[in-house]
């Protein structure tokens, strides 16, 4: 239990970065959601780490709420994907560029 916070934080930062990259480079809406989940998890990891080193439950509580939010978001997000799919049979976001300028 004496792993320095730094290590975890670096991991979380990397995870955050990978997630962000995913959002930027993947074209499938579902995969993009997943990448957003990765980023949220990165945040969670950081929170828990801080909670440990600060001997404070607050961080963990925050993680708890982030989890709820993540769940809610995914629900709605998937709903949107389904709605879109009904219309254009594709989950590729690049197909959506009618609105521009």
């Amino acid at each position: 239990m004496t792993i320095p916070a730094a290590w975890y934080l670096i991991v979380s930062a990397l995870l955050f970065g990978i997630g962000a990259t995913g959002v930027l480079v993947r074209r499938n809406a579902l995969v993009m959601f997943m990448c957003i989940e990765l980023m949220l998890n990165a945040a969670n990891l950081a929170l828990v780490t801080f909670a440990r080193v600060l001997h404070d439950v607050g961080g963990q509580a925050t993680v708890f709420f982030v989890l709820v939010v993540a769940a809610a978001e995914v629900t709605v997000g998937l709903g949107i994907v389904v709605a879109i799919f009904r219309k254009r049979h594709s989950a590729i976001v690049d197909d959506l560029h009618e609105l521009q300028g």
Partner: protein
């Protein structure tokens, strides 16, 4: 860094950390890199488990459990369900990138962000906050501590989640529900392509 490394630690901890880190990052890369959404989802599960491992390693056992149950157990399943439901479980070519310059810029920007975060955290001494401001941790009974906090300091937030879930449910229902035919009675000027699409389903 060196200062941090200097602190004493036990071998198993290190091993566990390395394991979890490997799983986390590997899974993450898998999510981003795998052609097939299904594989991405599976990789996501790996990452989540890795995270859970890291939680356990940091005495957040309850959260680790929630992580497995809610995330791996519910969210990812939901993902997979939708993937299958929509039948988009085909491979897509990762190589292809219609937007010119997207990837280099993306990598560059993300690199700056990640590097920047790490550097700034390091500059800030990784953590500088006062200890146990909200409530002290209780390694023996983290569930209790957590629960207590949620029902005291975060009472309002906890109640707010109720509304959050309600709205999420309503939204999901509203979105996923097939629009009643009556609504399509009025075809829109800007949607001939769509009308065509409807016939296919």
């Amino acid at each position: 860094m060196t200062g941090v490394l200097a602190t004493a630690r036990t071998v198993p901890d290190v091993l566990v950390f390395i394991a979890s880190a490997a799983i986390i990052l590997g899974g993450a890369v898998g999510v981003v890199a795998s052609k097939n959404p299904v594989h991405s989802a599976l990789n996501l599960i790996a990452t989540l488990i890795g995270i859970a491992l890291a939680f356990v390693e940091q005495q957040a056992n309850f959260l680790a459990a929630v992580q497995i149950i809610v995330y791996a157990g519910a969210i990812v399943i939901l993902f997979l369900f939708v993937i299958m439901f929509l039948g988009v479980d085909r491979n897509e070519s990762i190589r292809l990138e219609p937007l010119s310059g997207q990837r280099p810029l993306a990598v560059g920007a993300v690199a700056v962000v990640t590097g920047g975060l790490i550097a700034l955290m390091a500059a800030g001494g990784w953590y500088s906050g006062a200890t146990s401001v909200i409530a002290p941790t209780d390694p023996s009974n983290d569930v209790g501590a957590l629960g207590k906090v949620i029902f005291t300091s975060y009472l309002f937030a906890f109640e707010a989640t109720a509304l959050l879930l309600i709205i999420a449910v309503v939204g999901a229902v509203l979105l996923a529900r097939r629009p009643p035919a009556s609504l399509d009675a009025v075809p829109r000027a800007d949607e001939h392509a769509v009308a065509a699409g409807e016939e296919l389903t």
